[in-house]
Symmetry: C2
Subunit: 175 residues, 2 copies
DNA sequence: CATCAGCTAGTCAAACTGATCAGAGTAAGA
DNA sequence: TCTTACTCTGATCAGTTTGACTAGCTGATG
């Protein structure tokens, strides 16, 4: 399964030459809305929900897989269920010569669920989860002690007025 | 089958409430690691991958469902596949008397995939996606024009040194 | 107008699910 | 030590779903 067949490569090349996004029409919207509601829904269930033929749904799912329209890691687990009830941002200021070293160090901290590099004064922005405020302090200390990190600024999230969502965005696909 | 008395039921309820987190042991870790790798994996596939009996996996999945250990909306769709290649934070300063109105307005903007309320100087922090820098400007304008919003500060993400991940966290479950 | 890609609607064998059950191991309490 | 309550295992069974086919239809394109 390692090597791509010639046909696969050709298809990918064609797709990129056509400069289209893998997801474009009303069928994609319907299928993905179903998947967004429950990613474990069976093909047949999606077919019933959307009113599409089973083969169509099956073909689309295969296409998404082929074109990597779906993330490798599906984020279905609620950190709260792991006992990690609070989340926060830790903004880090770096020694600009040691960015890679710093990222390497951060990668080893499990509580960092994501790390972003924004334009602006902050060098790295880490999204972290923790058991409680005390635990959050521990995590932010761990971050501060990573090599190449000069200073950190932690800010806890009090509420999540809009939880992560994809459905509004999917609804905008009109074809 | 003997009927449970009210006391029995109460005791059971107490016991389940005493349970700290729905996810705790090595079995949970294995099952969830499999789900994290591919949330559409069949029960049988998870059973093979983890070496657990099929019934065990089935029982755990039912429990997760019952105890809401999994998020309602699974985030499997890559915004890039929708043609939304850039993401950013828009920090908003609010008229403190009209927070609810502001959130209501933000909810109507599809490009806002998440909105957080951090402790500190920023009132609301919106995670947004957009087609290109020009599109990002449009979205941040839309946010700025929401009722109750006084000022915004947009910062684009240049890189994502650590993409959203759950696996490191799952690996810490030791039982 | 002929071609072609993509959706629909069938079929079939193979795989999977949900619901059982009995048996075994284990932890907690009497 | 002997229950009792749990839970994981391994098994079966009927019903469902999948993957891989088929053929027919339609709209877009050259």
């Amino acid at each position: 399964m390692v090597n791509l067949t010639w046909e696969d490569q050709e298809e990918k090349a064609m797709a990129s030459r056509r400069n289209t996004t893998p997801i474009r029409d009303a069928i994609d919207r319907a299928v993905l809305e179903a998947l967004d509601a429950d990613s474990r829904m069976t093909i047949l269930a999606i077919s019933h929900r959307t009113g599409l033929a089973r083969g169509t749904v099956q073909a689309r799912l295969e296409r998404y897989e082929r074109e990597n329209a779906l993330r490798d890691h599906s984020v279905r687990i609620d950190p709260t269920a792991l006992g990690l009830g609070i989340s926060a941002h830790v903004a880090a200021e770096l020694d600009q010569h040691r960015i890679d070293v710093a990222v390497e160090g951060l990668r080893a901290i499990p509580e960092i669920v994501e790390c972003l590099a924004p334009a602006g004064e902050t060098d790295l922005l880490c999204r972290v989860v923790a058991r409680d405020p005390d635990d959050l302090y521990r995590v932010s200390e761990e971050i501060r002690l990573c090599p190449g990190i000069l200073r950190t600024r932690t800010s806890m999230f009090l509420r999540q007025p809009i939880p992560y969502r994809m459905n509004q965005l999917l609804a905008t696909i009109t074809d």
